[in-house]
Structure formats: C-alpha cells, structure tokens
C-alpha cells in the first residue's frame, strides 16, 4: 500500500519491549503469530508507536475518537480484554492454532520486524 506520507516507526526501546511481550504472551496463551510475519511486524511497530506516543500499547487496528482517552480506559491496550477473555485478536497478532492464518512461530527477531516496516 502506498502511503501519502512517510509512516513513522517507533523507538527501538519500545519495539524491543513489545517484541519481548508478544513472544512470551504467545507462548503463555498457546497462540501463534500469523503465517505472514509481515503482519506481525507491522502490528508490533504500531503497538510500540502507541507506547511511544500515548504511554500504552493501544491496539493499532481500531479507530478511536480520542486515542489518549482510550489508552487511559485500557480496554484496547494490548493484550486487550477480548484477547484476555476469549483469545480474540482481530489484529492477527495472536492467533489460535485452528485459525487458517496461524503460522507455527511464537518468535520474531528485531531485524525481521524492521526489515518489514522499513518498507513503509
């Protein structure tokens, strides 16, 4: 997809924080990353960017009237309430093993993320 303007990446610190969180949370919940790790990379970049901007990893696959208010409300901060309660992640970061898009990985390297998100 062509962006009309440059898309800003997150800080390395918060990207690494979200990467580590996602790896351990996938293992803990028995969920898997998308077979297309590009999806995983983009979502992790989005979570880390929200952590930079809002102080919380607000879900990047929602539209909000007020991002700061939503981050304070915490419902859509990762792992969001639907994920915690029902293992539902519409962002496709954490997929149950019966999901047709699920891959077999619960790990992604920093370089794998950035080699994907550097394209945008």
């Amino acid at each position: 997809m062509q962006d009309t303007q440059a898309t800003t990446q997150a800080t390395e610190k918060n990207l690494e924080l979200m990467r580590n969180f996602a790896q351990s949370y996938a293992k803990r919940t028995g969920t898997y990353f998308c077979a297309d790790l590009g999806v995983t990379a983009v979502v992790l970049e989005g979570l880390a960017k929200h952590k930079d901007d809002l102080g919380a990893p607000l879900c990047p696959c929602r539209h909000y009237e007020d991002k700061e208010a939503e981050a304070k409300a915490t419902y859509w901060n990762c792992p969001c309430v639907p994920m915690q309660e029902r293992h539902e992640c519409h962002c496709m970061l954490f997929l149950k093993d019966d999901n047709p898009f699920a891959g077999d990985k619960q790990e992604i390297s920093f370089d794998e993320i950035r080699s994907e998100t550097n394209k945008y």
Binding site: G46, K49, M92
Partner: protein
C-alpha cells in the same frame, strides 16, 4: 487501476457524489490485517474496472469521515451507492467474500 486515496475534504465529491458504486477501504498505517487486505482491494479494483470505483481512506489522517461512519475495527470495507452506505465487511476477508458482497450492488 490502483485505488486512489481519498480524504475528509474529498470524500463528498469522490465517494458520495460518484456515479459508480464505491468501495472504500478504511485503513491505518500500522494495522497488520490492513496490509493483507490491500492487495485484495487492488485486485478488486482491476477486476471491476469501469463498474466500481475503489478508494482508500487513512483513518488516522481523516478522522472526520471515519467517525461519521462509526469505524471501529480496522480494516473496514464499506460500499457506497448513490451517496448512501449500503454494506460493509470488517476485517481481512478473502477476495471471494468481498466480490460476492460487491456483486449485489452492481
């Protein structure tokens, strides 16, 4: 023909006043499933060239239209005909699902 980007200011002219039915892809920059659905939307644009207008709207940069139509989960694909929203599909869906939804309004 690749899908063009529309904005809060061009939405009325490009979508609501369009002669053809319009498929609008509401997306956001760091949304993984949006990246999955983008090539599907481009294929639809080529397949229905001349029958359907296909456009994309960045919800971060164009919050007014996104809010007006109650966009929550992204990606959301919305179909407009004669200035009215007539249908929508939420999430990364297969091309056949999108095509079948679209066919109803041609």
């Amino acid at each position: 023909m690749a899908a063009v980007q529309v904005t809060d200011s061009s939405f009325k002219q490009d979508v609501l006043e369009s002669e053809l039915p319009v498929l609008v892809d509401f997306w956001a920059p760091w949304c993984g499933p949006c990246r999955m659905v983008a090539p599907v939307v481009d294929e639809i644009s080529e397949q229905y060239d001349g029958q359907v207008k296909v456009v994309k709207l960045n919800t971060d940069e164009n919050p007014s239209v996104a809010s007006q139509y109650g966009i929550r989960s992204i990606p959301t694909l919305m179909i407009f005909k004669g200035g009215q929203r007539v249908d929508m599909v939420v999430g990364a869906v297969p091309k056949t699902t999108l095509a079948n939804t679209l066919e109803k309004y041609l």
